[in-house]
Amino acid sequence: MIVHDASRQFDNGLLAVDGLSISIPAGQFLALLGPSGCGKSTLLRMIAGLDRPTRGRVDVSAGGVGYVFQDAHLLPWRNVIDNVALPLELARLPANQRDDRAAEALNLVGLSEFGAMYPAQLSGGMRMRVSLARALVGRPNLLLLDEPFAALDEITRQQLDDLLRGLWQRTGMTILFVTHSIQEAAYLADRVIVLSRRPARVMLDHVMAMPSSRDAALRTSAAFAAEARLLFQALERGERL
């Protein structure tokens, strides 16, 4: 997937993204780290095809795209399994196949038992898992996440970080994870791109020097702290720009 010299200016003149170029090899876990309102969501929307660059190109070679929003955004009138099956339903897959694949996706996020529940009956973390299952049900080659765990408490968030990392290792899909959390970017990704404040420019494009299997102990290690500091310094440079 390639973003080539892409810019996005809104009708009100706001320049959200200005001449950004990023290429992501298939199978990479890339975190986009930047301050709030820097245009990283706009970039993600362009990659998803929900928005178009006013200048430049976005080429996505991936087959299917999955998208996870800042909040779970489930349909409250549907139970969990029907929420997960929605993308297949919109793609007009036969009902028997839909249910099997939705159950499979729910299993991936550890919610096999909760198919008949309604979103209002679930905790915030569980709703986000359902949202993740919905993004995965179409077996995407590219998974886009827009600050998905920002509203969750720290413990739940770390559990979901581990879940996501595990899913990535099992499926081999490309993941693009937008966040404003240094810790989260450092813990999750193999490569981190730090963006400046708006209009977003690349301040740092860094391959993380960390083991591929990660656990809670890593969060307090010296190597982790060093990488986090590097990201922090790049963020600071981006603020002064």
Partner: protein
């Protein structure tokens, strides 16, 4: 809904009713209020008993017309709202004419409806419809237009056809607001039917007119009581359907329904 819950809901308004009933009874008997202005509540009840067959027949006629007018409002209102929500230009061009239904005084239009539809139920149904269609349009439109942007994005991402987006996202999303419109429309449809009947002389509206002209104030009140019961019944019906439909949306509705 079980008996205990019904009792729980019913006792406060029934207590208020009994209180007002008793106060009026005392006030009229003592001569503080002239009995040609307000009848003794007990006389109104007696009149209801004496004229039961007549009032019940009128009730059925009015209820039937109000329900049909209301049904027409729901069908037409939702379809119009969906059409208006389809584009900014369509909305700007046609919405002002939808507002007409809210601002036009139904009492002024009712005679016209009788000219168009004749002195039978058609005019009464039309009057109930004209009086009640706007809240359905306005609330449905507002619900359709306020769908969460990320959900719209989600449906775009999965390339949902417009019909699928309407049926699977926009209409269900608008349901709570549609029900708000229906609650208002239910009461208005009864008002519209009564006004129509003032002109055609049928149903509860006709009965009120005749009783008023004959100075039978107790019968006027007996009929008014039954008319308000019709409005309350329709309101309760909408509420029951809304609770049943929306029971999964909110935790509170769920536990109460269990």
């Amino acid at each position: 809904m079980n008996v205990r819950r019904l009792a729980y809901l019913a006792w406060p308004p029934l207590t208020v009713f009994a209180g007002v009933f008793a106060m009026l009874e005392v006030a009229v008997r003592a001569g503080w209020i002239a009995s040609f202005l307000v009848p003794r509540p007990s006389d109104a009840i007696k009149s209801l008993g004496a004229n039961f067959a007549e009032i019940a027949g009128a009730f059925m006629a009015t209820a039937s017309a109000a329900l049909r007018g209301f049904g027409l409002s729901v069908a037409v209102g939702v379809v119009v709202a969906v059409a208006l929500s389809s584009g900014g230009l369509v909305r700007r061009a046609f919405y002002p004419y939808a507002v007409f239904f809210q601002t036009v005084p139904i009492i002024a239009v009712a005679p016209l409806l009788v000219i168009w539809f004749g002195f039978d139920q058609g005019a009464v149904i039309a009057s109930a419809f004209v009086a009640s269609v706007f809240p359905v349009i306005a609330n449905t439109l507002s619900g359709l237009m306020s769908v969460d942007a990320p959900l719209v994005d989600l449906f775009r991402l999965y390339r949902a056809r417009p019909l699928a987006a309407l049926v699977k996202l926009r209409l269900p999303f608008a349901l709570p607001q549609i029900f708000t419109g229906l609650r208002v429309a239910a009461g208005l449809s009864v008002i519209g039917a009564i006004v129509g009947e003032f002109i055609t002389g049928s149903g509860l509206g006709g009965l009120i007119q005749v009783a008023r002209q004959q100075r039978k104030i107790d019968k006027v009140f007996a009929t008014l009581l039954v008319t308000s019961l019709l409005g309350v019944a329709m309101f309760a019906m909408i509420n029951a359907v809304a609770r049943l439909t929306l029971r999964h949306w909110h935790a509170s509705e769920r536990t109460e329904g269990a």
